[in-house]
Symmetry: C2
DNA sequence: GTCAAAATGTAGCTATAGCTACATTTTACA
DNA sequence: TGTAAAATGTAGCTATAGCTACATTTTGAC
């Protein structure tokens, strides 16, 4: 990692209250556990739309993991009630899975649009959004939407 | 593994090229592995500044994890060459650790400042930044700084 | 229809990150 | 100074996420 270009003026060096900080980190950790589910559900939805089916091998290739890893993750997605799959048949989303995919897609687009509005090149915006999107709260999403609306 | 005949990725244009998408996800995954190191290093630096020492119990309490979990993580931080610690003595940062802490702090402040500039309430900005900051590329950071500078 | 290749599934390994329970060392104070 | 409490460290459990290697099922070419 390299040096960020600027330091801001709002540095106080003060730690937040213990409980507050612990709550924040805890939230961040639980967000990590849902990030994978969200990535899989979004990709399954995309594949269903564009290919008509979502196969483990395609999912694995898209995510850059082995098919064994993908199959295990798909099992988790199924356990979470987001998808269904029968052996040697494709993966399908449940109602709940479709709903999540819809939310995740909208959020992804909003994050990408915001980054681009701030002058981030499309490639970087898409790449960074992949990580960022899982950690953006509803409150922050609303602020993003407001900002984009305000500036046309 | 060959491409199935129907799996042309230009079908809808919704999905990025396979390799591109796999690279993005891979990057996101490796960012996750460094996120924990960054969190610990930043907190150790903060504690060293404000308390004069960084003790495992304090670190654990701040992060909202058990002290055993913190000690294991500290071992990882040491293995990464970012900190030193002798049994029953506090944790200290190496040169490398200090440098990382500095970069991580600057990045954190920049992300918080940007969110606030976009109208996100301070509480949400601080909380979301905790997750977001680990996934913001240098390119995006530069865009953030530029945007903040432009609007004074 | 057979049979090999591709896809899918399973087993078992590593490493991380969390936990509780227990052991050890320091520290504080009566 | 002794001893109990606090802090620290260790052991061992769960679960996730990755991998390779191998087994099974489906598919497709002939």
């Amino acid at each position: 990692m390299t040096q960020p270009p600027f330091a801001s003026q709002s540095a106080t060096g003060k730690l937040p209250a213990e409980g507050t900080q612990a709550r924040r980190f805890g939230k961040t950790r639980s967000a990590q556990s849902t990030a994978l589910l969200e990535d899989y559900v979004e990709l399954i939805a995309d594949l269903l739309d564009s290919e008509g089916e979502a196969r483990p091998t395609d999912i694995a290739r898209r995510l850059g993991v082995s098919h064994a890893t993908a199959i295990k993750a798909i099992a988790r997605v199924k356990r979470a009630g987001l998808a269904t799959a029968r052996p040697y048949r494709g993966v399908f989303l449940t109602e709940k899975g479709h709903a999540l995919a819809h939310r995740v897609r909208a959020r992804h687009r909003l994050v990408v649009d915001l980054l681009r509005a701030l002058g981030v090149p499309t490639e970087s915006a898409e790449a960074d959004a992949e990580g960022i999107e899982h950690y953006v709260s509803e409150t922050t999403l609303k602020a993003f939407a407001q900002f984009l609306k305000a500036r046309g």
